[in-house]
Structure formats: C-alpha cells, structure tokens
C-alpha cells in the first residue's frame, strides 16, 4: 500500500492527540473509572494508532513520529492489557488491618518454614554452647555477648547511672535502621534460590539459641526473658516474616510444582513481597523504640515480671492480629 505520508500524518494526528490526552488523564488519576463508552472509545483509538504504527514501520522518514507512535502504543497497550487489579485509592488503615495480615496468612507455609529454619539454628547454637562453651567467641562475634552472663546481670542491676541517658532516641533509630537493613537483605537473598535467606535465618537462630542457653546455663533465665521479650517478640517475628518474603521469592524463582511461567510466578508474588516487607519495617520501628526505651532497663528500675508480662501481651496481640485481622466473617 502506498500512502501520502504528509496527508496521512495530518489526518491521523488528531487521533493520536486524543489518545495521548486520555492516557495522560488515566496515568495522572489511577483511581479514576472510565465509563463503558469511554473504554470502547479508548480501545478504538488504541487500535487505530497501533494500525498507524504498523503503516509507518517501514518508513525511513519521520523517525520522531515513529518513536512517538511506539511510545503511545506501548502506554495504551499497558493500560488495556493489564490484568492485575487496579489499586483503588491507598488507605493506610485498610492496608494495615486487612492487606498485610491477609498476605501473611496467604503465605503462612513459607512463614512456618522460616520458623523451622530458625528453630533448627537455635537448636544448633544452643547445643553447641551446651556441649562446647569454648565455642562462644565463634558463635557470638559480638563483644557485649561474650561477657559472663552472671557478671553482666550483676553489673546491670547494680548500675547507678543510665548509660543510655541522652542517647535513647538515636539508639532506637540505629536499631530500627539496622534491623530493617538486615530484613531487606534476608528478603533479597531469596534471589539465591533461597540459599542465602536460609543461611541468614539459620545464623540468626544460632545466635539466639547460643545466647539463650548461655544465660539459662548461668541461671539468668528471668533476666534473659526480661531483657529479650519486650522487643524480641516483635523483632524476631519481623525477621521471620522477612525470611517468609525471601522464601516466597525463592519459590517463585524455582517454580517447583507450578505450571505458570517464570514471569507470571514472579508477577503473582511481587505485590505480596512488598506488602510483607513494609509490614516488617513497621514491626521493627516498634521493636526499636521498645529496645531503646524499655529492654535495656532492668531491675530495680523496671521489675522483670513487668517486662515479661509486657512481652507476653505483645506476643498475644501480634499473634491475634496476624491470625485474625482482616479475616472475613463467614456468616456475614
């Protein structure tokens, strides 16, 4: 087919301009709904522009027009063929009380796997310390954990000054950001087919198990619970959820038992991964505050029973929240 290029462009330009106007509007207002007539008209404009692109494809002249049409067609194609649900206006409360816990439950098996790996790490760390106390410097490469637990407890309880005085806010900020980075790293390592995520979870478990057995062995169980529970009951599940997200990514990458192609599998989980990691960040903000403002204070400043009770309440609330929040009432 031979076409008069100038006439063709002059005739078609209004169509392209109208399509561009509609696309700009859709992109600027993602939550706006088009009526059926508007959708049909939008589709007609897209098809006509796509056909124009095909006509111009073989021409050496008008490279700018060709590129402009490619851009228009690609934008319209994305809008028309996108099958994922268009997100309605973002509501933080709906996200917090519904989307996040629902996403957690949807992939709860990955969470259980994350938990099992951490427990295995705990068992390994605990047994290693129990059978070979000299392995402490290898298992816990943190100087403040190498001290004799009984000696540390005595020092903490007899301390007359507040070592975090004037530093609590910055200390909590450092805890929040550090833990969030570790969580994101745990998630990201899902790209190693889950090997990196598993290693991170296991290593966290090893440290936790080793510290726990070290303090229990020294007869400081109550101190340990009072020290770790207020922030740990939020922080440890947060790392587990980050591991859940990493394992989810790994499962999509491996695709065992799934018939969907790789891109579809990844597409199906990317939204859930983002949701889980934002939830983790919120948990770690809370844990950071508690660790700086509560966990580091011991008897006689704060009774251990009060700290343990606080930790138990947090754990129950978190469990109920993750298990029940956003659950649809079957009788409704």
């Amino acid at each position: 087919m031979i076409i008069d290029l100038q006439k063709f462009i002059a005739n078609e330009r209004p169509v392209w301009a109208e399509l561009e106007t509609i696309l700009n509007r859709i992109e600027a207002e993602p939550t706006a709904q088009l009526s059926l007539e508007q959708v049909q008209h939008f589709h007609e404009l897209y098809e006509r522009t796509a056909a124009d692109l095909a006509k111009l494809a073989t021409y050496s002249s008008e490279p700018e027009t060709h590129r402009f049409l490619e851009s228009l067609v690609s934008r319209a194609y994305g809008e028309i063929h996108e099958t994922r649900e268009k997100r309605s206006r973002f509501s933080p409360l709906t996200w917090f009380f519904q989307t996040w816990p629902q996403t957690f439950r949807k992939h709860v098996r990955a969470f259980y796997l994350s938990l099992a790996i951490t427990i295995a790490g705990c068992a390994f760390g605990g047994l290693a310390i129990a059978f070979d106390p000299d392995s402490k410097p290898v298992l816990m490469p943190f100087s403040h954990l190498l001290q004799d637990p009984a000696k540390r407890v005595a020092e903490e309880e007899n301390s007359t000054y507040d070592r975090l005085k004037g530093q609590k806010t910055s200390f909590s900020a450092e805890l929040m950001t550090h833990n969030t980075k570790v969580s994101i790293f745990t998630l990201s390592l899902g790209m190693t087919w889950g090997v990196g995520t598993i290693l991170m979870l296991f290593y966290n478990g090893v440290i936790l198990g080793a510290v726990a057995v070290d303090y229990i062995h020294a007869g400081q169980t109550k101190f340990l619970l009072g020290w770790l529970m207020p922030h740990g009951v939020i922080e440890i599940p947060a790392i587990l959820i980050a591991g859940q997200a990493g394992l989810l990514l790994a499962a999509a990458l491996i695709g065992r038992g799934q018939r969907a192609p790789f891109r579809t599998r990844i597409r199906q989980v990317s939204g859930d991964i983002a949701t889980l990691i934002f939830g983790v960040a919120l948990m770690l903000i809370w844990a950071g505050f508690i660790e700086a403002f509560l966990s580091q204070y011991h008897e006689p400043v704060i009774p251990y029973d009060a700290k343990i009770a606080f930790g138990c309440v947090e754990l129950v609330l978190l469990s109920v929240f993750l298990a029940k929040s956003g659950r649809k009432n079957p009788t409704a």
């Binding site: 076409i3 098809e47 073989t58 050496s60 004037g166 909590s172 450092e174 950001t177 790293f185 990317s270």
Partner: protein, 252 residues
C-alpha cells in the same frame, strides 16, 4: 541470546520495540543518582545540624533515619513519581518499564529497589553488573525479581541530508507514484546503509567506492523499476542521493 531491543507483539499483531539500556549507561545513571543522594544527605545534614543545638540526640536520630529513608526511598519515590525514571535515568534518557509492556506497578518499583542490597554486593554493584552483562535483557537481579527492564530513548537526530543531497534536481521525483513506492519499500536499515556510504565516501579507495555505490544502487534499483529517463545519465552515486532524498524527505 543477548539482544539490544525489547520487542513486544500485541495480540493485534502490532510490534513495537524499545532499545534496552546497556550496563555501562546504567552504571553512569546509578553514579549520577548516588551523587544526587549524597547532595540531598549533605543538605539534610546541614539542616539537622541546626537542630543539634536544641538536642544532639534527636538530631542524630533524625540523621540516621533520614540517611536510611533517602538512600532507599530515593529510587522508589522518583521512579514512582516519574514513571520509571530517576534524575540519573532522566539525564541519560533511561526508563524502567515492565518487561511485558504492562503498566509499571508500585510493588515492582519497591522490589527492584530493595533488591539493590544483593545487586550491590560485594561493592560497586558487582553482582548486579555481572548479572546485567550475562542477562539477555540486561536485567540485574532486582529487575528479574520485579519483571522490569531498563530501556533507553536515544535522541533521534534527523540525518544531515544537506551534506549529501545538496539540493540538486532529483529525477526520481518526476514519477511521484514510483517515488512513493520506493519510500514504502525502503526499510530504515537500508536507508541508513545508503546514507552512511555517502557520508563516508572519502574514506574509500576510488575503485572500491565505485563498486560499493554500484552494489547499493543495484539493490535499490531492484526494489522499484524507474523509467529510463529518470535513471539514464546519472551515476550510481547520484542515484543513491536521489533515493535518500525520496526516503528521508517526505515532502514532495
């Protein structure tokens, strides 16, 4: 196989393609973005230091949180607000798009930016760079996990036709229907070969130049047969100049 273009075929059978950005261009964009992040952090640090007069503790906390948010949020926020572009990408005409041409979603932007943590290992985006180099669509791990690809919109400059055409009489234009057919049948790649041969004519030995122009002219002659009065008496080189005039200059 490694390809430099992302081709998407719509169900209507229309193919549109976009040029995939290479690792070096992406690294330069990343370098610019890192510079921007440092500038923002420096300015934020100056502002926060004023607060240190009131409370050093709160100022330090704000700086720690601000550093974290800016270094992670920079890419997420700008790519979301500018539809797949950051300052570095904008300057180098790059854009993040969905690998299947779909609408770029917020969670894709979040995932690709969070996975910078592994892509940047052990330093200077080594893992991401190697993955990008080996991947057929030049995707780093974050792009693979988010189903995204970075494309490049190079500025397309009109060829400097005056340099090769010189405004001489074009005998092919005396036959507008044949000229239109020639324009229709000439692909951009064929026209580019002819243009380059004329632009670089001084680089060839005289004999080789004549042979080259003869070969290219024969190729174009086989596409559309013009009457003898349009082609007789002109050299192969002039014939090519006339062909380019028809292909690139759509105004009759």
């Amino acid at each position: 196989m490694k390809t430099s273009r992302l081709n998407i075929r719509t169900p209507e059978g229309i193919v549109f393609s976009q040029q995939i950005a290479g690792p070096v261009t992406r690294f330069l964009a990343c370098f610019i973005d890192q510079f921007c992040i440092q500038v923002v952090l420096m300015l934020a640090g100056l502002l926060i230091s004023l607060l240190a007069v009131v409370s050093f503790n709160i100022a330090l906390a704000l700086y720690v949180i601000g550093f974290f948010i800016v270094s992670i949020g920079y890419g997420i926020l700008l790519e979301w607000a500018w539809r797949g572009q950051t300052i570095g990408k904008r300057l180098l005409r790059l854009r993040v798009v969905d690998v299947e041409g779909m609408r770029l979603q917020f969670n894709q932007i979040v995932v690709r930016n969070l996975l910078r943590f592994v892509d940047s290992l052990p330093a200077f985006y080594f893992v991401g760079g190697v993955t990008c180099w080996l991947n057929s669509k030049c995707q780093r791990l974050g792009d693979i996990a988010a189903n995204t690809v970075v494309i490049r919109h190079p500025r397309i400059d009109e060829p400097d036709l005056d340099q090769v055409l010189g405004g001489k009489f074009n005998s092919l234009r005396q036959f507008p229907h044949l000229a239109a057919r020639l324009r229709q049948n000439t692909t951009p790649a064929e026209a580019a070969i002819a243009l380059q041969s004329l632009l670089r004519r001084e680089e060839f030995e005289p004999v080789a130049r004549v042979e080259l122009f003869a070969a290219i002219a024969a190729h174009f002659r086989s596409k559309v047969e013009f009457p003898a009065e349009a082609t007789d008496g002109i050299t192969d080189e002039q014939f090519l100049r006339n062909v380019l005039d028809v292909a690139y200059r759509s105004k009759n």
